[in-house]
Structures are given as structure tokens and as C-alpha cells.
Amino acid sequence: MINFILNGEQVSSNSNQNERLLDVLRDEFRLTGAKCGCKEGECGACSVILDGKLVNSCMVAMGSIEDSTVTTIEGYSKTRRFQILSEAYAAVSAVQCGFCIPGMMLASECILAENPNPSEEDIRRGISGNLCRCTGYNAIVEAVGTAAKEGKGLW
């Protein structure tokens, strides 16, 4: 039994310790916001926030997260910060097919949590592990910049 906090709730999983967090989130907890793009740590579609830091959930074995805190897009979407970010993304159409967006939102959150006034370069570096095949990065960078302004004091 692996115990951890998932989106603010204490949960336990019966999964094998060697299973990927990504698969357990999707299959056992039915949280399908984290997407499976590559399972190689390359695309960032599976991003979650683990103990306050952005990680690729395909790179995390369940046995390593005992007592950890995991936030997925489903949990994050209930926050005020999400709302601001989401509006900023929508305002500049920083989303097309949407596959990469859950990971991109969590990456954006981590950029702003670390630095509420990120430069364009900070933003680009912060999302460098999240591949987007359709929106392109400029709109996303703009959205994060807008959220930083709109959400003054929230981060």
C-alpha cells in the first residue's frame, strides 16, 4: 500500500511500487488530465506537481512517492491561480488540440510560483520540457506573461 496526498486528499494506492505514477493516476484514480506522450521524459504532457515541483509523472515510480504530495491539473483547476492562467491562455488562444495544455498549465504555475515576475527567457526556460506541436510557444509565453500581470499578488 502506497500512501500519499493527491489533490489535497490523503489516498492510498494498491499499485505495484514499480508502476509509473502516470499510469496509476490515469488507470486507478481516473485522472486523465496528465497525458501520455512519450513515456521517456521528453514531452512534458504527463507533468504533475510533486512536493511543489514540476516533474514528469512517467518518470516517477509509485514506490518513490510514499508520503508525497501530488497535484494534477484536476486539483489545480480548482484554484484561483488556475482561473487567472486559464483566462490568459484563452485570451491569446494558447491552445489548439489541447493535448499538451494540462502539462503546460502546471509548468506555467511552477514558473510563476518560483518567480512572480518572470522574464520572457524565464518563461521559455520554464516550459522548455513541454513540447507543443500545434499552438507554438509564442502564444503560451504571452499567456504566462499576462497571467503574471493579471494575477498580481496571487503568486
Partner: protein
């Protein structure tokens, strides 16, 4: 049934390591690429003793399970290591991947490994019965072959506190970050009273093991930069012979000429 273990202290980790046949798991960023559900992992990512970065009179001591993000944050870490680490993958991987994992993966492409070779870092290897300290050069026996005993864990990486400030570092990859090195080079030149007291070079991703040849670098020791110029040709020639690249996704010839260009540039940037 396979059984994995989650360790909460170093003592517990070493006890399990000594008793069971387990695969140490730090950040998992190498291991999870080929995730094996039959493996018995020993999870080390929350062992406090493996996550400390501290300094004593002689060394900066980096806990093996310190992540790249933690290394970048620490005030104790010399800039040469930070320069290499900032180019590793992307933030999400740097939040998981560790310096100890980079070393114990046994690849000559490890970007932090190159710096540890150039700096002649020492490794503290511990079992439940005792410990030994090994220069990193002696830890690497060949491609993916390490002098790591079955009951041992890498606990700390020891970096000398001095002589690391004056450095040269270049990583040549297909892209900047996110790409595994095709060739990487680090050079250190420590001068005192106008004389070279230590020259150390290391070439990564070229051969099965990082190339580090103190015997050749020694040619420059004790010399002023002007004196060093007189042995420059012989020095370059010796490395020309010492660097025997393996064939990979990029040709051996390409690797070789990049190595020699970087070496020359390192010397020239120091007025040699």
C-alpha cells in the same frame, strides 16, 4: 514476487542493500526509461543523508541523491558544475535527476560526470560494514562498468574547494538543452604567482569513459603561460593520440576534430 523498498534513512538503506539484491533508485530518470516491473528497487529519493550539500575544511560534499535543481540552488556549488547542470534536460527532469544517478549510470555522456572528472572528484562509497573513498577515475572501469560493489551505495561526491574557479566548459549537442551531449569538454587552469599549478582537462561523450589524462596535463604544470607555449605542440600531439573516439550517431572523425578544437580554444583563451 518482486519487492521494492522505500528507505527513510541511510542506515536502513544500507541494511537493505547489504541483505537484498536491489537496484538503487534515486531520481529514476535513467531507470524509468526502461521501466522494469520485475526489478527490485531501493528507493533513495527521500533519504536525508543522501540529500545534503555541505562543506568541510577541504571539500564540498554533495549528497548522491541531490537533484540537479538542488545543486543549482546551493550556494556551495562551484559555477563550473552549475554551468553543466543548467544544460541538462528541462526543469522537470532537473527536479528528479541526481548527480549520484548521473555517475552511477556509468555513461561517458553524463554532463555532471564530466565536471567531476575534470575536478578529480572523489566518491564516498558506503556499505553497512564500512566505507571507502575512491577517485572518480578509478570508479569507471569501462562502458557501463563501475567499481560498485553489490552491497555498496554512493553516498557523497567530494569536490575540492579550491582550484575550480578558472574554468572552460562547452557542451556540443544537437540542440542546446534537452539533448544528450555529442562531445563535451571541461578544462581547469589554476594559476598562482604567474605559474600554472594545475591544468586538468576532461572529454565527455567521446569514448567509453570520460577521457582524463593527468599525465599529459602535467606537461603544463609549473610553467608560465609563455613557457607553456613551448610545449603546446607536444601537448596537443599527445592528446591527439590519446583521444580515440568511438563511433556513434556522429562520426568518430567529427568527434575527434571537435575535441581538438575545444582543447586548442581552451589553451588560447588562457593565452597559451
Amino acid at each position: 514476487m518482486v519487492k521494492s523498498y522505500f528507505a527513510k534513512s541511510l542506515e536502513e538503506a544500507l541494511e537493505i542493500r547489504g541483505r537484498e539484491s536491489v537496484i538503487p533508485y534515486a531520481g529514476g530518470t535513467d531507470l524509468m526509461i526502461e521501466a522494469d516491473d520485475q526489478a527490485s528497487y531501493l528507493f533513495l529519493n527521500k533519504v536525508p543523508e543522501l540529500k545534503e550539500i555541505k562543506a568541510d575544511a577541504e571539500y564540498i560534499r554533495i549528497g548522491a541523491a541531490s537533484t540537479y535543481a538542488e545543486i543549482l540552488q546551493s550556494q556551495l556549488i562551484p559555477q563550473i558544475l552549475k554551468d553543466a547542470v543548467i544544460e541538462i534536460a528541462a526543469p522537470a527532469i532537473r527536479n528528479l535527476g541526481t548527480a549520484g544517478g548521473n555517475i552511477c549510470n556509468g555513461s561517458a555522456k553524463g554532463d555532471s560526470v564530466l565536471i567531476f572528472f575534470a575536478a578529480d572528484a572523489k566518491l564516498r562509497l558506503v556499505t553497512s560494514k564500512g566505507e571507502r573513498i575512491l577517485p572518480i577515475k578509478d570508479f569507471y572501469l569501462g562502458r557501463k562498468k563501475l567499481a560498485l560493489q553489490k552491497d555498496e551505495l554512493l553516498v557523497e561526491i567530494l569536490l575540492k574547494k579550491t582550484g575550480l574557479d578558472h574554468y572552460y566548459y562547452k557542451k556540443i549537442g544537437a540542440r542546446n538543452a534537452l539533448a544528450i551531449s555529442r562531445v563535451s569538454f571541461a578544462g581547469l587552469l589554476d594559476m598562482k604567482d604567474g605559474k600554472i599549478i594545475n591544468c586538468a582537462t576532461a572529454f565527455g561523450a567521446v569514448s567509453d569513459v570520460v577521457i582524463r589524462r593527468p599525465d599529459i596535463d602535467e606537461m603544463l604544470a609549473g610553467k608560465t603561460t609563455d613557457e607553456a607555449k613551448t610545449v603546446k605542440d607536444a601537448y596537443l600531439e599527445a592528446f591527439d593520440e590519446a583521444i580515440v573516439p568511438i563511433r556513434g550517431r556522429v562520426s568518430a572523425e567529427y568527434r575527434k576534430s571537435v575535441c581538438m578544437n575545444l582543447l586548442r580554444d581552451f589553451l588560447e583563451s588562457n593565452g597559451i
